[in-house]
Symmetry: C2
Subunit: 133 residues, 2 copies
DNA sequence: CACCTTTAGGACCTGTTTTGTCTTTTATAT
DNA sequence: ATATAAAAGACAAAACAGGTCCTAAAGGTG
């Protein structure tokens, strides 16, 4: 249960790699992929999306590449994980789409809420900068 | 991320239903399935497995059915969840099959450990009896 | 014993998600 | 112009989720 997908794992590795670059230095996707042992085209997809979200900045053409969108100390693990995996939701009924009317009736509900809040809290408390050290 | 599957959800519902039965009273799979709104054959599979694990007792033939394998107060939510979903493992590298040699090198590793232990702790602290009240 | 009831076990199936690949396009620097 | 890199989109194999269906086996009952 609750397994991070490869995509998530890859994303974290890539971001840590970027965090370890000298400030302002660009890294090619080919370089990142090789260093982190991630399939290049797959990582490219992940980073394309991250660029849209502002988690990384991307530049095309000669001398282009990727760098972090902001200081590694201001990017949390939670942000990275949720960017690839979607929100942290231990049970469908927490999705808040009204699918679950058990909010008041069901005793399991608050347990999932606790799980959710604990996990979010842990991931939120860790920054990419810490992971890159 | 970390979503419980339907199977897990169904299993919990079924166990709670059993916990609400009068002590020693047998419940038919057809009855449980209907009451909990779970596809009968699917629930049957889940409970077959639970019978092997001792989480429920099953009896065939007329007057047969299912009942809890022990007091509801001695069955934790963790046990039920892990019985259907497998161990709670936020990242593959925690599986301990030697697949991950990052144990000492990787900074993310201890974060996943913390997540794992927190979630396990929460689910462990809740019994089916509490959920059935 | 014959028969009915109820779970056990196994085979099978369908749709979705994961984990990618491949090709073409667009932007940029030289 | 040309070379370089990321962007975008189509495609696909494999695994997983979420079931169904059929037969077998066990246990009561008349």
């Amino acid at each position: 249960m609750m397994e991070l997908t490869r995509k998530g794992e890859y994303a974290i590795r890539g971001m840590i790699y970027l965090a370890r670059q000298a400030p302002g230095k660009m890294a090619l996707i080919s370089e990142i992929a090789e260093a982190t042992e991630v399939p290049q085209t797959f990582l490219a997809k992940i980073f394309q999306n991250f660029a849209k979200l502002g988690l990384v900045n991307s530049y095309r053409g000669t001398g282009g590449g990727f760098m972090l969108g902001r200081a590694a100390s201001r990017i949390t693990l939670r942000e990275v994980v949720e960017a690839v995996e979607g929100p942290i939701i231990p049970n469908r009924c927490l999705m808040g789409n009204g699918a679950c009317d058990f909010d008041r009736q069901c005793n399991v509900h608050p347990v999932w809420r606790r799980v959710q809040s604990q996990v979010v809290q842990i991931l939120e408390s860790v920054t990419i900068e810490e992971l890159a050290r």
